[in-house]
């Protein structure tokens, strides 16, 4: 179990550091992430020859400081991850709890909606919506939020069904508690630990999808320093200066890995407290 705990702590560390970087970005970035300097384009990072002490991670094809853009990119990833998860969490949990609690026809409708959602090709539809509505930060968040709720719905539905079979729900019903009371005060708190684990996975997925959309040119608009957009813009130079895509790509990979490890850790931890 110590290995799992070490991984969970590593995940917590990665997420914690990223959150701090995102929060304090304006105070810790050495340069303005939007300031171009065409005289200092594609300065290599510190581990390569020709690097500059002013630009630790070098500069991009427009001479913007890469470290500053990377830190602001953490901000974009975290905000998108959290907002999308809140949006999809509300939709998915409402659907799942309704299906699991009421059963019968309601449940059949909920299952049908989930099946339809799964049949829709996710990236293709997200690209279409962003393209036809016009790409902006808010459109990306809303599109992903409206598409990524199915895991919340599936987990909320199953766990609500399990909780509803337990004695304390029967007791609440017998003492004449209202449906609203049972749903909000009895069911929701008792499925919350499962939803928290799903939420971590969804944050990771939303961050990956935003990066993929931005990479395809239909995510957050330029010149915002999204990691996916940084990779997309550096693509033409990657064979000569691979670090241009290695740096934001590694950041993306490490952050998503950290969130997933944290999620696995939470699953163990919350599962254990439930048994106690």
């Amino acid at each position: 179990m110590t290995v799992r705990r070490a991984f969970a702590l590593a995940g917590m560390g990665i997420v914690g550091v990223t959150v701090l970087l995102a929060l304090f970005a304006p105070w810790i970035t050495p340069h303005d992430p939007f300031a171009q300097n065409l005289e200092a384009r594609m300065v290599p990072p510190f581990w390569l020859d020709g690097s500059s002490p002013q630009h630790l991670f070098g500069t991009d094809q427009l001479g913007r400081d890469y470290l500053s853009r990377l830190i602001y990119g953490a901000r974009i990833s975290m905000i998108i991850g959290v907002l999308v998860t809140v949006c999809s969490g509300v939709i998915g949990t409402s659907l799942g709890v309704a299906g699991g609690f009421f059963g019968g026809r309601v449940d059949a409708v909920v299952m049908f909606i989930i099946t339809c959602r799964l049949a829709i090709p996710l990236i293709l539809v997200a690209l279409t919506v962003v393209s036809f509505v016009g790409s902006s930060f808010a459109v990306v968040v809303l599109t992903l939020g409206l598409l990524l709720w199915e895991r919340f719905a599936v987990v909320a539905r199953i766990t609500t069904m399990q909780v509803c079979r337990l004695d304390y729900i029967a007791a609440a019903r017998a003492t004449g508690c209202s449906r609203t009371h049972i749903l909000l005060r009895e069911v929701l708190p008792n499925i919350a630990q499962h939803l928290i684990v799903v939420a971590t996975l969804e944050v990771a997925l939303a961050i990956l999808l935003e990066a993929a959309l931005s990479f395809l040119g239909l995510g957050v608009p330029s010149p915002l320093p999204s990691w996916g957009l940084m990779i997309s813009e550096a693509k033409d130079y990657m064979y000569f200066s691979p670090w241009l895509i290695m740096i934001p790509g590694t950041a993306l990979f490490v952050l998503v890995l950290g969130i997933n490890l944290l999620g696995d850790g939470l699953q163990d931890w919350l599962g254990a407290t439930r048994d106690a």
């Binding site: 829709i120 293709l124 395809l216 990979f253």
Partner: protein
């Protein structure tokens, strides 16, 4: 069983109809399609001509019904950009996407099943943890970035494999590996948990007591039972992979269905966009239906509910 099949098929049809509606609605999100097609320099008359020519002057419900009726008879409309039937455009590019998807699936199965079995046979050991770490890493890997990274290091620096196009078979290897990465975590976890359950069961103890060899126990008895859900999920994963191949086709410049969709989205060629959405959804629906039926065939308990 017949009742089960009929009910599942009916449900699949309903899902298909819903997706049909969604894919139609999706392409009307941009507001007036005729204006965006005509371009910024067009006069009011040009817009009117386009509107008439493509039947966009009709009320939306009429357009919808005619799109559904046409789609049901296999007529997906004409592309504005290519001036060719959409069905032909998709059919011409389908072999590339299908080959890519199947290559990805084969690579994923060849990786996930042996690793899952090894992990299950060494449950709780360091090896088990190391293998499961592969699943965690696979889940966190941005596929487009993995694609670019492999293109740089394996394609350009080592010169081992081509990095764009599929003129020769080896053009599918790198994109196939990248696509496989998205399916490996789920397949591996499923193989592992299925094998762990199977190895702990009574019939395996009986097989051990009979003195069968370890290889025979694992491969002929345990795997046969653990493999069924894996096959079903593999079908569903193939559906996801075909839908997700748009990113990989863009990275490796493969002229498949995904690339066609990406191009059409950027150019507002909405008959193509709505048809590709519908087409990929149909493939997914058929694959899940087959997986459901296969599961029910193998496990009679599922037919009751």
């Amino acid at each position: 069983m017949i009742q089960f099949v009929v009910r599942r098929a009916f449900l699949a049809l309903l899902v298909l109809l819903t997706v049909l509606t969604i894919s139609f609605a999706l392409t009307r999100l941009s507001g007036d399609v005729a204006i965006s097609m005509a371009g910024p320099a067009a006069s009011q008359e040009d817009v009117e001509t386009i509107r008439k020519a493509y039947g966009l002057d009709r009320p939306l419900p009429v357009q919808f019904v005619s799109w559904v009726a046409d789609a049901a008879s296999g007529n997906l409309g004409r592309s504005y950009l290519y001036h060719a039937p959409v069905a032909e455009l998709i059919a011409a590019r389908l072999p590339i996407t299908l080959t890519l998807g199947l290559t990805g699936l084969v690579i994923a199965l060849l990786t996930a099943i042996p690793l899952g079995i090894t992990a299950a046979m060494n449950e709780g050991s360091l090896l088990d943890r190391a293998i499961m770490m592969v699943a965690v890493i696979g889940q966190a890997m941005p596929s487009f970035w993995l694609g670019l990274t492999l293109a740089i290091w394996v394609g350009l620096k080592l010169q081992l494999l081509p990095i764009s196009g599929v003129e020769t078979w080896d053009g599918y290897v790198l994109p196939g590996i990248v696509l496989a990465f998205s399916a490996i975590p789920a397949l591996m976890r499923l193989t592992r948990s299925g094998m762990v359950d199977a190895l702990a069961s009574d019939y395996i103890r009986t097989a051990r007591a009979k003195g069968l060899s370890r290889a025979s126990i694992v491969l002929r008895h345990a795997l046969r039972n653990a493999a069924m859900p894996v096959v079903a999920v593999a079908a569903v994963q193939l559906g996801f992979m075909l839908g997700g191949s748009i990113v990989i086709e863009a990275v490796f410049s493969l002229n498949g269905v995904g690339y066609l969709a990406w191009e059409s989205i950027a150019k507002n060629d909405f008959p193509v966009v709505q048809s590709v959405v519908l087409f990929l959804a149909t493939i997914y629906i058929v694959l899940t239906l087959l997986a459901d039926l296969l599961n029910a065939l193998l496990d009679p308990r599922l037919r009751i509910s």
